[in-house]
């Protein structure tokens, strides 16, 4: 199939060759919605949904492959799928949106799973490889500048498996990009996603009536609307833009303003008590994020989206404030049970 395509390129043909896009983690929020976007795009001929569960948005162009990235030697079967379908673009999104207690499994899926996917791409060379990463991996530290650029070192807390696995995945992709020059590697570091239909640790955190904060600390928060997140991935699939990009919404807001706009009230906790408290709540499975996430309530972790605007052409349609308001609109309906809770 890929042979036929490369031959067809030289001949005068009206329609350009159609793309075959493979999505790992296709049943996540991003995967599910991107399948819909890609199905609607003429330039995409085939979408491969790779996950353990069939995404409900799969349509005519989508073919589902049940592949568990935590299994050993999964790279072989992935490579076979890629080769037989003639995949030219891989969107690697098999990451967890929220921290989990199953740390060992998360490590297998995120860090080792990325290795498997990259090994498959080494056997069957693809044109583009897009990785979902997060701005959280810069880490919230007192020595952060107010706007982190892409070349800033990744200093996410070493105690957090959630952050470390994603840093390792990025490192693996950077190695891959050096070794396989034929593949354009795009890494999208997304700010925390908020919106009316998405569910992650942040939406659950803001879902409490009283949202815990640190007394006397009010860091600036930067968010990304879910629509903008999807638009960024669509751009990365369609444009040739190697490198790493911060994908962030316009503007920042103090954490307390975010909480008030979401219709919640802050519950200030003295900061020396916060880590032990967070640790106890996490152990009791009563909180949505492990203790290292307390840092994000104290220090600023805001990324600079100028490079994505310049080189990728990504301009967010929503500001941080509008993302919060959009989330709050849906959440208030969920609160009175006029809207079903969003699926994870």
């Amino acid at each position: 199939m890929s042979d036929a395509r490369s031959e067809g390129r030289g001949v005068a043909r009206v329609a350009p060759p159609r793309r075959t896009v493979a999505l790992t983690g296709a049943d996540g929020f991003l995967g599910r919605n991107l399948i819909g976007l890609l199905e609607d795009d003429d330039r995409v001929g085939r979408v491969l949904a790779i996950d353990v569960k069939n995404p409900p948005t799969a349509g005519r162009k989508t073919r589902f492959y049940k592949v568990d990235l935590t299994q050993p030697s999964v790279d072989q079967s992935l490579a076979e799928i890629f080769a037989s379908e003639g995949v030219d673009t891989v969107l690697h999104m098999a990451f967890l949106a929220s921290p989990t207690h199953a740390r060992a499994w998360a490590h297998e899926l995120e860090s080792v799973g990325t290795m498997h996917v990259l090994n498959a791409c080494r056997q069957h060379t693809v044109r583009r490889f897009v990785l979902w990463s997060q701005t959280l991996i810069y880490g919230a530290l007192p020595s952060n500048p107010n706007h982190l650029t892409e070349d800033h070192p990744l200093r996410g807390s070493a105690e957090s498996r959630f952050l470390q696995d994603k840093i390792q995945a990025e490192e693996a992709v950077a190695r891959f990009a050096r070794q396989v020059p034929g593949t354009t590697c795009t890494v999208l570091r997304l700010a925390p996603i908020l919106g009316p239909t998405v569910t992650n640790w942040l939406t659950r955190f803001l879902g409490h009536r009283l949202v815990p904060t640190l007394m006397g600390f009010d860091p600036l928060v930067q968010l990304l609307h879910e629509v903008d997140a999807l638009a960024a991935f669509k751009l990365a699939v369609m444009r040739d833009a190697p490198g790493t990009y911060n994908i962030v919404g316009d503007g920042v807001l103090p954490l307390s303003t975010v909480i008030h706009l979401a219709g919640r009230s802050p519950l200030p906790v003295p900061h020396p008590l916060a880590k032990p408290l967070a640790s106890a709540l996490w152990t009791a499975q009563l909180s949505e994020a492990p203790p290292p996430f307390v840092d994000y309530l104290r220090w600023v972790c805001v990324a600079d989206g100028a490079k994505a605007a310049r080189e990728l052409g990504f301009r967010p349609a929503f500001t941080t404030r509008e993302a919060v308001l959009d989330y709050a609109g849906a959440q208030s309906l969920r609160d009175v049970q006029l809207l079903k809770p969003a699926a994870g």
């Binding site: 005519r60 103090p254 303003t257 706009l261 309906l333 809207l339």
Partner: protein, 456 residues
């Protein structure tokens, strides 16, 4: 099974009802409506492809176009409609043979008639959804609508005719009994004094203007600040104000900002760089950040200067404010010349600023080193008024202040690469330090006394 999965999917089923319910239930919240409008605009601009497909595949068009969920509120389809869709298009049944590439292209080419993009009016759609919805949901929505439209619903009108006061008392007390009431009140109180927008560095204009009265009173009445040479600060363009740092409680940033706002003809806004430990301290960091302070680092300073801002720099840093009282007029080391490198690299003129009076406002009583070590900060200010009087102690003693703006040092003669020339940087730094030290001594000599100011 496929039907169940599709029916449960929130992107397709639920949001279709959302905007309508929002519209009816909360008509006053225009902010939400603008967001919805923007979502619509975003759908059209960002993913125009999603709209194009509508014209292509007539059979599955309703499903194919609504699935992307880029804008769930606008393009949703009710659960029942999804349930009713033909079995042969469910994802399970799509086998490789069914969708050969040729087949897809044929469908694409021979699209007979486009489905009208929004095929129904909002009202019709709403009626349709209501007709298909479960009775339970209808009952709940109707209840919400009644509650939100008092002028059309008969319930509140009847009591207002008979006993309006009683009805009002009843309504208010019922509202006050709801568990949400106090949280909502508290939310409103907390948002009263600030805007919903801050700039990239956290400056909140509404919050800052609320504090202006306090700072103006301190500036005019308490410290009676005198300003000299304000004309050296240009009316536009980037400029770095390099000032001495003194007084154990660093309020000189706020006073310098007030001076520029009150005395400068262009009312320029100062963004000053504050030491790290300010941001380590609870309340202080958040408060100063809303007022315009920025954490001192090269990246932040460069970004501010690239926006043609007036940036206040205190190169003495913590050494300046923690110096003992006897050394109060003695300038400390000016860092490693980072401010000079910054000015050379960005071609920013430097205006040397001398602030006299802060030393006596907040004289350091004793260095509370064990306390500082305990709190994990480099320095805890202990003055006659702070921390004993709490936040009011920030006003300090009523010493007279004088701010002298010197001749600007132009950096236009140096190429940006010369920022790496350590000898040049050191020479310029010492020159700047000499100018400020000289002005301090001159100003102190001219002063009649600490609390009565300068001779006229």
């Amino acid at each position: 099974m496929a039907k169940k999965v599709l029916g449960d999917d929130p992107f397709k089923a639920e949001p279709a009802k959302k905007p309508k319910a929002t519209k009816r239930a909360a008509p006053a919240k225009s902010a939400r409506n603008t967001v919805a409008a923007k979502a619509r605009a975003a759908r059209e601009t960002v993913t125009s492809a999603a709209v194009e497909v509508v014209a292509e595949s007539p059979v599955e068009a309703p499903i194919a176009t609504v699935v992307p969920a880029v804008d769930p509120p606008v393009t949703g389809v009710p659960a029942d409609e999804v349930d009713a869709m033909p079995v042969d298009v469910t994802p399970e049944d799509v086998t490789p043979d069914d969708v050969a590439p040729e087949a897809i292209e044929t469908v694409t080419v021979t699209a007979p008639e486009p489905i009208p993009a929004p095929p129904f009016s909002v009202e019709d759609r709403f009626e349709q959804i209501l007709a298909e919805a479960s009775p339970d949901l209808i009952a709940r929505m109707a209840e919400r609508l009644r509650a939100s439209e008092p002028e059309t619903s008969p319930e509140p009108e009847a009591p207002t005719e008979t006993a309006p006061a009683v009805a009002e008392v009843f309504d208010v007390s019922r509202e006050m009994m709801s568990s949400d009431y106090y949280l909502r009140r508290w939310g409103k109180v907390a948002m009263r004094d600030r805007s919903q927008d801050v700039d990239d560095f956290g400056l909140d204009l509404a919050y800052e203007s609320r504090w202006r009265g306090v700072f103006d009173a301190l500036y005019d009445r308490w410290w009676k600040v005198e300003v000299e040479g304000i004309e050296h600060v240009p009316s536009e363009g980037r400029v770095a104000l390099v000032a001495n740092h003194s007084g154990a409680v660093p309020v000189d940033g706020i006073v310098l900002a007030t001076a520029l706002r009150k005395e400068h003809p262009a009312q320029r806004r100062l963004r000053w760089l504050a030491e790290d430990f300010v941001f380590h301290t609870p309340f202080a960091g958040a408060w100063l950040s809303r007022l315009g302070a920025v954490r001192a680092c090269q990246e932040n300073a460069e970004r501010l200067l690239s926006r043609e801002a007036v940036v206040g720099l205190f190169p003495e840093g913590v050494k300046g404010i923690s110096k003992p009282f006897r050394d109060r007029y003695q300038l400390q080391r000016f860092g490693r010349g980072g401010h000079i490198k910054l000015a050379i690299r960005t071609g920013t003129p430097i205006v040397p600023v001398t602030i006299v009076g802060a030393e006596e406002t907040h004289p350091q009583v004793f260095p509370a080193k064990p306390l500082a070590r305990l709190l994990g900060v480099p320095f805890v200010p202990v003055t006659p008024t702070f921390p004993w009087l709490g936040p009011a102690g920030l006003a300090g003693l009523p010493s007279r202040w004088k701010i002298v703006f010197g001749e600007p040092l132009s950096m236009a003669d140096y190429a940006p690469e010369q920022a790496d020339d350590e000898l040049l940087v050191n020479r310029l730094n010492e020159k700047l330090r000499g100018v400020i030290q000289q002005t301090i001594e001159q100003t102190v000599r001219d002063r009649r006394s600490v609390f009565s100011g300068w001779r006229r």
